[in-house]
């Protein structure tokens, strides 16, 4: 039995469907991210776990206990909000102690716990400050300490880094992950930032239009996207429509050029149309004789992206990106040149329709 079980959850707001047939099992101590674009239902799902929304159908179980209709103040979950939500009338220490006062912890125990929490977020000297005297990153760290002060069974984070600048985001996400690992707490993290989700999570749930598109480790989500949406949402991906030539040997054709895939054509027939995806970094310029997966192309554009150089090539009517690591001695083709690019058969992903 998983620690958190979300079973067949549906949530409608009037006629609008926010979450549909959502099922997820989360193990104790796991860090799971809900990733998707705005309006995909990820925050609604988190709010149903927190108790701020009630599912139209389905159940939420924590440790086997059905908490679907339990009020949020009795759920034993800590929550961190995008807008920090620190109480402006209380000091940092007052904010952290708030939950402890609610459960009537003795004053000495409260002081000790507040001090532990301040140490955990490396803000021991900030206890007497008010929220308006802190930067955004500091406020969010206090919000995290406040959520953890009661040692909740689960930590819910609703886009906690969205309001911060890029550098703080990167350092704070590492800090959040380190604290989560140190405490061994189960965490559900909502984000629309794929890089954030890939870097921080044990598993990622990619959502689109209220449904789960794919659940997997960051490695699986990035390298083996199962749907066109996941493929396009997570990282940059080249997609094209291909015709099945021979399903038994996984042979495909795009614009008259044959491509070899490794798998994904089970149940397909000759002549079927499928969507294929190839990551830009899986393409190379042809350097030695190869028979399969060689695509004649024309160089259309070259863009420097710092550590990576992105080359746009035209293959028939398709436009593909090809990424190559930048180095000062890189021999780049010229725009307008005709060339040949290639990729291995396992780089050709056949997406689920």
């Amino acid at each position: 039995m998983a620690f958190l079980e979300i079973n067949n959850i549906n949530k409608n707001f009037g006629k609008a469907v926010a979450v549909k047939d959502f099922n997820l099992q989360v193990e104790k101590g796991e860090f799971v991210s809900l990733l998707g674009p705005s309006g995909c239902g990820k925050t609604t799902t988190l709010r149903m776990v927190a108790g701020f929304e009630t599912p139209t159908d389905g159940t939420v179980l924590v440790n086997g206990e059905d908490i679907t209709n339990k009020p949020p103040n009795q759920r034993d979950v800590g929550m961190v909000f995008q807008a920090y939500a620190l109480f402006p009338n209380m000091t940092v220490a007052g904010n952290i102690a708030f939950g402890l006062e609610i459960v009537r912890k003795p004053a000495e125990e409260r002081r000790k716990r507040v001090s532990e929490m301040l140490e955990l977020i490396h803000m021991s000297d900030y206890g007497d400050r008010y929220p308006y005297q802190l930067s955004g990153g500091q406020q969010q760290r206090v919000a995290l300490a406040r959520a953890l002060a009661l040692s909740p069974s689960m930590l819910l984070l609703d886009e906690p880094l969205s309001a911060l600048d890029a550098k703080i985001r990167v350092s704070l996400r590492a800090e959040i992950r380190a604290i989560q690992r140190k405490l061994g707490i189960t965490a559900i993290y909502v984000t629309h930032d794929q890089e954030e989700a890939l870097s921080i999570s044990d598993r990622i749930v990619v959502m689109y239009e209220g449904r789960i598109e794919q659940v997997g480790t960051p490695f699986e989500i990035y390298n083996f996207p199962q749907t066109a949406f996941v493929a396009n949402f997570v990282g940059t991906l080249n997609t094209a429509t291909a015709e099945v030539i021979d399903p038994t040997t996984h042979l495909l054709q795009i614009d008259g050029v044959q491509l070899q895939a490794d798998e994904g054509l089970e149940g397909k027939h000759k002549g079927d149309q499928v969507t294929i995806a190839i990551r830009p970094e899986r393409f190379n310029f042809l350097s030695q004789e190869r028979k399969a997966n060689v695509l004649d192309c024309k160089i259309e554009n070259i863009t420097f992206l710092g550590s990576v150089v992105r080359i746009q090539v035209a293959v028939g009517n398709n436009r593909f990106y090809m990424d190559t690591f930048n180095n000062p001695y890189l021999a780049l083709p010229k725009i307008g040149d005709n060339d040949q690019v290639t990729c291995s058969s396992e780089a050709v992903l056949v997406l689920r329709s």
Binding site: A50, G51, F52, P71, P72, N73, Q74, R75, V77, G78, M79, F81, A83, Y84, A85, L86, F87, P88, N89, F98, G99, I102, V103, Y130, P131, Y132, Q133, G136, A143, R146, A147, L150, L156, A163
Partner: protein, 278 residues
């Protein structure tokens, strides 16, 4: 260069308009103060103030009006804070209707309100078509009249109190603060007492001050409900004497401003309206 020149230029017309505005508000006050100090011929003194404060009826009526104002403020807070809070939190679609209702005292004169109150509450309230009486006439007792006075004043102060509180709540992210407190185990009472009220304190005090000013100077309700409040006392005094009403008016005005100054001092610098700031 042009921008810096613009900044350095003396804003002559701004200062002219500002000065005219100050004159408009300060001149009548100055005239009132000056008049109140000239009770004795060719002498500037506080005789009018001494005479006004020595009157027992002044203390009695002023004390009673302060009591009514305090009760009105307490009842208004109890009624309006949860209402405004709930509308912000759960019923945003009802805000326009409630705002419209709160504006009604501006268009319905106090005289209509008081006659309505007298019409309804001067006879026993019975269950229709039965002899069973639910409530004795409120106008028959001092306690009942006090209830009517507080109720009436609450209606008169509603636009000010509701708008003050609603504006105060607009400056804090009420919904997120509520959810944060809930996730930390707080119940509704604790959320309102420890999170919402302290964060709308300035707005609350502003509303309270306005209600205080309205109640202390109010004449119509007090006159028609036959109570000895400060407003009717001041009116009667004005008919009989010249300098004392001016002294009392100025003293009341001063009291209000001193109270507002204290509020600013007490509530300043605690970082209200920063919730959710990025």
């Amino acid at each position: 260069m042009k921008a810096s020149a613009r900044v350095r230029r003396f804003p002559f017309w701004s200062w002219v308009w500002f000065f005219l505005g100050v004159l408009y508000f300060v001149m009548p006050l100055y005239a009132l103060l000056d008049f109140s100090l000239r009770m004795e011929r060719d002498v500037i003194g506080l005789k009018a103030y001494a005479s006004a404060f020595a009157d027992k009826e002044f203390l009695q009526t002023f004390g009673y009006s302060v009591f009514l104002a305090a009760m009105t403020i307490i009842v208004s807070i109890i009624l309006i804070v949860p209402t405004a809070y709930w509308i912000r939190l759960r019923l945003p679609e009802a805000r326009r209707i409630v705002e419209f209702i709160t504006l009604l005292p501006f268009v319905i004169p106090a005289i209509i309100l008081v006659f309505g109150l007298i019409r309804v509450y001067s006879s026993p309230i019975s269950i229709p078509f039965t002899e069973f009486s639910l409530m004795a006439p409120l106008t028959n007792s001092r306690f009942g009249t006090n209830i009517l006075m507080v109720g009436g004043y609450m209606v008169l102060g509603l636009p000010y109190m509701y708008r003050s509180i609603d504006t105060g709540m607009r400056t804090v992210d009420v919904r997120t603060l509520t959810e944060a407190a809930q996730s930390l185990g707080a119940n509704w009472f604790t959320i309102i007492r420890r999170v919402i009220l302290p964060n709308v304190r300035t707005a609350l005090l502003s509303g309270a001050m306005l209600i205080f000013a309205i109640v202390v100077g109010e004449v119509i309700l007090a006159t028609y409900l036959g109570v000895s409040a400060f407003g009717p006392y001041l009116l009667l005094l004005g008919r009989a004497r010249a300098f004392e009403p001016a002294a009392l008016s100025f003293a009341t005005f001063l009291l209000t401003w001193v109270a507002m100054g204290i509020i600013q001092l007490v509530t300043g610098g605690k970082g209200e309206a920063t919730a959710g700031a990025h």
